[in-house]
């Protein structure tokens, strides 16, 4: 594939050079050398090297803010994703956060011979079933656990809370002992080969298990399974986010939530919101908890600002500024709790409390919590499990 093919596939030639993308881009707001408009223009003028060998290609958060504003409907995130695969062929990887360990783990997981010990955290208080047709996707949570321990983030806590929710809904889900990384980060950093291998492996496992529905607590996995897997593999089952499942169940038989007296605000993860259009389900769930007052940030819904990280690349001072802006918006609402539905939003927000950035600016302080943890708490159960 070359850049010309990508222009044809993503219909980039419709670009009017109006610059709305750059004006709304959260990265371009802080990093003046990053410009989606210039990138598209360089591509259209045939300056391939200026696009694919540009380190800034990996700064794009693929948050889909630009595509929402674009009058010509140019799919810039997909353009970036495909251009990154050319960049990878030319030996460009961007600057990987956490020294590239997460990308390396995804590559290591392509080996068919590994026997993972990913369910060691599972204790007897959770009910799982070997022959259930509902699968709870655990994803990279067992790997995030040691990596993000220093920022006091527990990815497994989210999975445990989701499992608790499913149990309280009367569902005993199945957990796959040897599932692999969903390949989201590999795909969005342009490592298509790794993504395909992971997708094939996961699809084979799911088919063998005879699963009818997969429930996700992570929007990245959800997006990958819903939109990207069908392009490569046949999954043959339904996928659902835990918030959508909750809304479905609330409609059926009126769920009972305990009271939580708190003022909260909600961060729309880009994968769940703009990528998949799920804005209402998480809000409905939060609002149905008695005692909770949900206030919106200045930017919310389809125009909400990204947390500042997407595929663990180019996490620089600009993404730190972006994160600080989002956190101050959350503080400005007067809420005491920031709810998000994405583990990655939480890693990035929590990291702000440890990493103050080069300028040592004061970081806005607000407690961050996942939707699943909040709901599990409201259902009268502890989330620490």
């Amino acid at each position: 594939m070359n850049l010309e093919d990508i222009i044809q596939q993503t219909k980039t030639y419709y670009c009017l050079e109006c610059g709305k993308c750059t004006s709304i881009c959260p990265v371009a707001k802080y990093d003046s050398s990053f410009s989606p408009r210039m990138m598209i223009e360089n591509a259209l003028l045939g300056f391939e090297d200026d696009v694919v060998l540009n380190q800034k290609l990996f700064s794009c958060l693929t948050c889909y803010n630009c595509q929402q504003e674009c009058p010509s409907d140019v799919d810039f995130p997909i353009f970036v994703r495909k251009a990154r695969s050319i960049a990878q062929d030319n030996g460009q990887h961007g600057v990987c956060a956490h020294s590239g360990q997460l990308q390396s783990l995804a590559r290591l997981m392509t080996s068919p011979a590994i026997k993972q010990k990913r369910l060691e955290w599972l204790s007897k208080e959770y009910r799982v079933s070997e022959d259930s047709d509902v699968l709870l996707w655990v994803g990279c949570a067992p790997y995030f656990e040691p990596i993000f321990k220093d920022i006091e983030f527990s990815a497994l806590g989210i999975i445990k809370a989701s499992l608790r929710i499913l149990n309280l809904l009367g569902i005993e889900p199945r957990l796959l002992p040897n599932e692999r990384c969903c390949g989201h980060d590999a795909l969005w950093t342009g490592d298509i080969e790794t993504f395909k291998k992971l997708a094939e492996h996961n699809a084979a496992q799911i088919k063998e298990a005879g699963v009818k529905k997969i429930v996700f607590s992570c929007p990245e996995g959800y997006r990958t399974f819903k939109l990207d897997y069908p392009e490569h593999v046949d999954l043959g089952c339904e996928v659902q986010h835990v918030s959508e499942l909750l809304v479905e169940k609330m409609g059926q038989n009126g769920l009972k939530f305990g009271e939580i007296k708190k003022k909260v605000t909600y961060q729309d993860p880009c994968r769940l919101g703009r990528h998949l259009g799920v804005y209402d389900a998480p809000r409905k769930v939060i609002e149905s908890i008695p005692g909770i007052e949900l206030v919106e940030m200045r930017h919310s819904g389809w125009e909400s600002i990204c947390c500042g990280t997407s595929a663990f690349t180019n996490c620089d001072s600009y993404s730190n500024m972006l994160r600080a802006e989002r956190l101050s918006e959350a503080v400005a609402t007067g809420a005491e709790l920031l709810i998000t539905a994405c583990p990655k939003c939480q890693t990035h927000f929590r990291c702000a409390t440890v990493d103050k950035g080069e300028e040592h600016r004061p970081t806005p302080k607000i407690e961050v919590m996942d939707l699943a943890n909040l709901v599990a708490n409201a259902m009268g159960e502890s989330n620490n499990g």
Partner: protein, 142 residues
Amino acid sequence: MAEFEPQIIAFCCNWCTYAAADLAGTSRLRYPPNVRIVRVMCSGMVNPIYILKAFEGGVDGVLVAGCHLTDCHYIDGPVKCDAAVDKLRKMLHVLGLEDERLRREMIATSEGVLFARVIHEMVEQLKKIGPSPFKVKMEALA
């Protein structure tokens, strides 16, 4: 079939373990030829990604060796190294990798004998547990 010969990458600190390996050589100590030494300035600079890349490349074991806690030229290198290796070990455990494949040692300049013994032990253990599971990927590609 020929006996399985494990490949080991050893990250050795310039000031202690690399010199210990030198000492083992000049003292004519025998140790298996399965190890490839990578000289680093300090064990504290061994980033987890170096170790992961070694496994990606298909090695069967990795040794990270450097100065003892109080000998470091850069004050707290071994402490950083311990923290990084511990964290990585937890991840590799979830990945299903045997604990023996990643070894952390502190070997001072004068401990050439210890260096040779550690290599002996590692090769023996790795021969018992067999090739790394990540090799399968490599062979499938070839």
